[in-house]
């Protein structure tokens, strides 16, 4: 109990500067809008955005649900593709030489320009958005996993071999656990860009989702609604990121803190 309260106090201490800064910025925003008498459609003050958030919560959460579904489906597919590609790259030199350069080169193509093509090929339903999310997220997953799997030292592999381990056992019991801290770092990057991916996909062609709602509300000068959608998107992104950090903390609970990346990227 004391530990729990202590943890809460520590968390409050860690987060309070950021929260106070954000509150101050919001206050300044509010004040400037009122003081300069800026038009609502040009820049709505935070109180109006908050009002919009409450008034349209049903609409916003319905579209947020669709965006979240695209993100989760895309992330899941990306995980499968990423693990398969990274394993292949680490396992065989031929795979590495033939695939890895193409994967890296593919990242120089602006994915935003691929989205219209995907709409033409796949249509405006959810799958085009899932594909855009996959395109955005598989790269950090593959790179982090390849780096992690490569960080296994040869002496440990030898130790496993002298214990009579098969290649599959070495992969499962040595290489995967060694790669986990790196992999989680990649997942944290991937989950954040997955939100961007889903919004871009919706922007180009969709009939639902927060990106679509923003695209629709802009030209109608429903600026407060655009801001409210941004707030909801941020909440979605922060929630997903926190979920990954929680899974990471649990998965790496036995790792010494020097190997635990959570401290560097997750909180503090």
């Amino acid at each position: 109990m004391i530990n729990y309260l202590g943890g809460m106090w520590q968390a409050a201490k860690n987060w309070s500067p950021a929260i106070l800064t954000a509150l101050a910025l919001i206050l300044i925003w509010e004040f400037v809008v009122w003081f300069l008498d800026i038009q609502r459609w040009l820049l709505p003050p935070p109180t109006i955005i908050f009002q919009e958030l409450i008034d349209s919560i049903g609409l916003l959460s319905r579209h947020a649900g669709i965006t979240l579904l695209e993100i989760i489906m895309g992330f899941a597919v990306s995980l499968m593709i990423g693990v398969a590609l990274a394993s292949g790259i680490v396992w065989s030199r031929t795979m590495e030489r033939s695939i890895y350069p193409i994967i890296i080169a593919s990242q120089t193509i602006p994915i935003f320009t691929l989205a219209p093509l995907l709409i033409i090929w796949v249509g405006t339903d959810i799958f085009s958005k899932v594909i855009v999310v996959v395109l955005f997220t598989f790269f950090p997953l593959v790179v982090s996993l390849v780096t992690g799997l490569r960080s296994v030292d040869s002496e440990s592999v030898d130790m496993f071999r002298t214990l009579g381990a098969t290649n599959a056992q070495i992969f499962r019991k040595l290489m995967i656990p060694t790669a986990l801290p790196n992999f989680f770092a990649g997942m944290k990057v991937a989950v954040v860009v997955s939100v961007i991916g889903a919004v871009i996909g919706e922007w180009v062609g969709a009939s639902a989702g927060l990106g679509w709602l923003m695209k629709l509300s802009g030209p109608q000068f429903q600026t407060a609604r655009v801001f409210a959608a941004i707030v909801v998107l941020s909440v979605v992104a922060i929630t997903l990121f926190s979920a990954i950090v929680a899974i990471e903390k649990w998965s790496l609970r036995k790792y010494p803190s020097s190997l635990n990346q959570a401290k560097n990227l997750g909180e503090s």
């Binding site: 002496e155 071999r161 002298t162 214990l163 009579g164 098969t166 036995k254």
Partner: protein, 260 residues
């Protein structure tokens, strides 16, 4: 120390073994054998191919020339998992407890967790690790980690045991304590033990026979019987027999250096 064997019951035989690395000969015509219940030490300068020899015996490498038979197995890859090999570094997995690290070999052989756990607990008492079985490796001292690594190796229950400078990275006080402890653990065992070390005193204290190696290419140049009486082990480093043996071995090693 270990019971002297009258019969030549060799568990490990290395005959005429040569090994090249990138065209450079590392080992040339190495012959040695270790009998059941015998403890043999290999002593030589750094880079003389001692570790390469252990890699060959364990099956991690295949010899270019000659044959190696350990516990009746001559096929290199067949020896993997059938020769217990403790490398220089403890290589404990940081995400596993000491118990889980020691269970690794049995786990890889699909021995049930209950059985392997029981065996680890049984052995942990004599290894002085019983109270730290649920600790993580980073919580242990260097000496304890080294003992845990030896326990993981010994739990494979192979008759041939290879030790590559097991105490090399430890401070002098811990090293001496562990050497005496290792003697007590391995007393009256029925294994064939081959220890690689550059520490002559360690070799004399632990082994029945010491093989002396020279480098470039690595080869065995002499063999010394170093069996000490029980009383000599007690006073070890100061007993006249010990001092005499050490002088002799150092002379053999030094002669080698001069000729280089």
């Amino acid at each position: 120390m270990a019971v002297s064997t009258v019969h030549k019951d060799a568990l490990l035989t290395v005959s005429g073994v040569g090994f090249d690395y990138k065209g450079i000969p590392v080992l040339d015509n190495v012959d040695l054998s270790v009998n059941r219940g015998e403890f043999v030490a290999l002593v030589g300068p750094s880079g003389c191919g001692k570790s390469t020899l252990l890699n060959l015996i364990s099956g991690l490498l295949s010899p270019g020339k000659g044959t190696i038979t350990a516990n009746g197995i001559s096929d290199s890859s067949g020896r993997l998992g059938n020769v217990s090999y403790m490398q220089q570094r403890d290589l404990l997995l940081p995400w596993r407890t000491i118990a889980e690290n020691c269970q690794l070999g049995m786990e890889l052989r699909s021995i049930s967790a209950d059985v392997s756990k029981a065996r680890v607990q049984e052995l942990a008492k004599s290894f002085g690790l019983f109270d730290v079985l649920n600790h993580m490796p980073w919580q242990l001292s260097g000496g304890m980690r080294q003992r845990a690594a030896l326990m993981r190796t010994i739990l494979l229950e192979n008759d041939v045991l290879l030790l590559d400078e097991p105490f090399g990275a430890l401070d002098a006080i811990t090293r001496t304590a562990l050497q005496k402890w290792l003697l007590s653990v391995l007393v009256r065992n029925d294994k064939a033990v081959l220890l690689v070390t550059h520490d002559v005193e360690e070799a004399i204290l632990l082994a029945d026979r010491v093989m002396i190696m020279a480098s470039e290419p690595g080869r065995i140049i002499a063999e010394v019987d170093v069996r000490l009486s029980e009383s000599s082990i007690e006073s070890s480093f100061t007993s006249p027999a010990f001092v005499e043996l050490r002088k002799g071995i150092l002379a053999l090693l030094e002669r080698q250096e001069v000729s280089l």
